[in-house]
Amino acid sequence: MKESCPRIGEVSAFMDGALSGPARDEFAGHAKTCPLCGARLLEFTALSERLKTLRDTRCEADLARLVDRRLADRAPARRAPRKRAWWQNWQLAPQGLGVAAALAMGVYLGLLLTGGGAAMRPSAMAVFDASPPGALCAGRCSREGH
């Protein structure tokens, strides 16, 4: 039957300095006399030395640059308004002329409909009036006849 020590579970905490002052001193004395705890302490110490060699691993990539690129990709894009070259403005000339002509036509027709442009009224339109051109005033003549 394999020997065992009820305090073997304290070795790990003792090694890490996790035992309080009196308990630590007391266990240190025990480990000196207990072959099981003493051997376990040596094993854990050897293991610890081996594990420490894993600290030499370095990250070969520049993570700061890679992470910053990811952050930049996720940031909302801010695009500066594109500046037009001077010659590109000439390309807008035909559209500009068309818009100006349409506006002028709109104003002209608007004045015709509202009667605000009597001076500009075409004479041909007068035939549609209540008193056509050249006629006497019908209303006044009929009243005078009675």
Binding site: L47, L51, T57, L71
Partner: protein, 202 residues
Amino acid sequence: MASLGTFAFPVRLIGADVDQQVEHTDADWARLAQKGDRTAFAALVRKHQDRIYRHLLRLTGSRDEALELAQETFVKAWQALPEWYPDAQFHTWLFRIASNTAMDLLRRRKIVDFVALEERFDAPAGGAGPEAQLETKQRLLALQKALGRLPAEQREAVLLREVEGLSYAEIALATGVTEGTVKSRIARGREALVADTVRIEP
């Protein structure tokens, strides 16, 4: 010389005309990063990238996965920076994000089983002859395989303690368990590793 927990980095202060060699703590950089300063965050990444990458490499056993997870960890850290507060050690906070990220991935892919690092694992030369170097390399490979056979939680606790030098309290914060659980995981992990590699008969 920079003391432990501080990081010397040339920095251009706002409104200053010259670069000044200023010692910044993690908390200083983190506060600047919280205001959206990506240069300050890059300084934090450079300072902690080796630890985070190394830890993820030992957890997953894969260089590619470790590199991807490390980037993911820092991106998550950037996004979570508004929640960080100066009372929390920045590196412990980072390890917590790294741990959650790695465990999520391992669970999602259902490959919690560790993949031992391949033969091109770089063992430290140590200035010894070829035979001694080969022996060191083989011993480290055996250790790496033994780590791989540990349950992920024990592996993580042992690595944080032995390789990264975190205290029980810091490991508890990083892994989200009690200090008692940390103590137990480390003890069991060590016992299993010793049984696998360096057993000494009394």
